[in-house]
């Protein structure tokens, strides 16, 4: 930020304002405030409990489908379910699940060295949050079964 600008010269505001050029990310700041409010209203422990319940439910669900392998089973893992389906590339899984109304991420997840270590080109990954439900996990399960059916 400047203090004053003229054809004779420019002077800058005091640090730290000097380094704050343009309009700050006001919408982002308000959004962050609302997100914190949302989480504190529910309580972070409740969030953690809900996520780990979903994770447990989802893990059991995927383990029961033939040909599905979960990648990453650390005991204190957060609410993510990375998985592979035998013989089906994660990008094909992503497209088919998308058509079934289930949004996941597919690819190397910006972690190519890890993919190399795991010996895979890519994985499919469902992320679970406070806003997800066990019904949605059932929907994921059905969509995975449809994927296997379609691609075989």
């Amino acid at each position: 930020m400047i203090k004053s600008v003229s054809f004779k010269g420019t002077s800058y505001a005091e640090i730290p304002f000097k380094f704050e050029a343009g309009t700050p990310d006001i919408a982002g700041i308000i959004g962050l405030g609302k997100a914190i409010e949302f989480l504190t209203t529910i309580g972070i422990n409740e969030v953690e409990k809900h996520e780990s319940e979903l994770l447990r439910y989802g893990t059991r669900l995927l383990e029961e489908i033939d040909g599905v392998h979960i990648v990453g089973v650390a005991p204190k893992k957060m609410g993510i379910l990375s998985f592979m389906i035998e013989g089906i590339h994660p990008h094909d899984i992503g497209t088919i699940l998308d058509q079934e109304g289930v949004a996941i991420r597919a690819g190397h997840h910006c972690a190519q060295p890890l993919m190399e270590r795991l010996g895979v080109a890519a994985t499919a990954r469902a992320s679970l949050g406070i806003y997800n439900t066990t019904n949605e996990l059932d929907q994921l399960g059905h969509a995975i079964e449809k994927t296997i059916d379609l691609m075989s």
């Binding site: 994660p90 990008h91 094909d92 088919i96 691609m151």
Partner: protein
């Protein structure tokens, strides 16, 4: 589901499971690598060009069903064709998969490759289908740099 069947046609699934012309070509006099850094697809195309004729073409690499089937069917279609004919096929193919999905699809001259018409409904997947073609073009043009779908 009907859109999905349109995308994953039986022919495509068959070529995905049993890719034709898959492997290296020791006699290749042209070769190029292609990468899709966003999804991690990798392909190498080997071509044996005799004057202006594609005598043999092979590919290897890893990728999704669309990219593998596209490469497999491309090699089947261009083997035995002249470079001019192969390029014409490439242009028609690219035209088809990037055309507006609400317009009637033009598959003229594409023969078996018209099974990829469904790709135009899935913008994210167009690059999966075209990577092999761009890599083939790079090979015959003696381009040594890896072809990338993203800059």
């Amino acid at each position: 589901m009907s859109d999905l069947r349109e995308l994953y046609q039986t022919t495509i699934l068959d070529h995905n499971k049993h890719p034709r012309n898959f492997g290296e070509l020791p006699d290749a006099n042209k070769k190029a690598h292609g990468d899709n850094p966003l999804c991690g697809d990798k392909i190498t195309i080997f071509v044996d060009v005799d004057r202006d004729l594609v005598k043999a073409v092979r590919f290897h690499g890893s990728g999704c069903a669309i990219s593998k089937a596209s490469a497999s069917m491309m090699t089947e279609q261009i083997e035995g064709k002249s470079l001019v004919e192969a390029n014409e096929l490439f242009l028609n193919f690219q035209e088809m998969v990037t055309s507006d999905p609400i317009q009637p699809v033009d598959t003229s001259g594409l023969g078996k490759l018209s099974v990829f018409a469904g790709v135009r409904e899935f913008p994210m997947r167009i690059k999966c289908a075209t990577l092999c073609w761009h890599t083939f073009k790079a090979a015959v043009n003696n381009q040594t740099e890896t072809v990338k779908t993203e800059e």
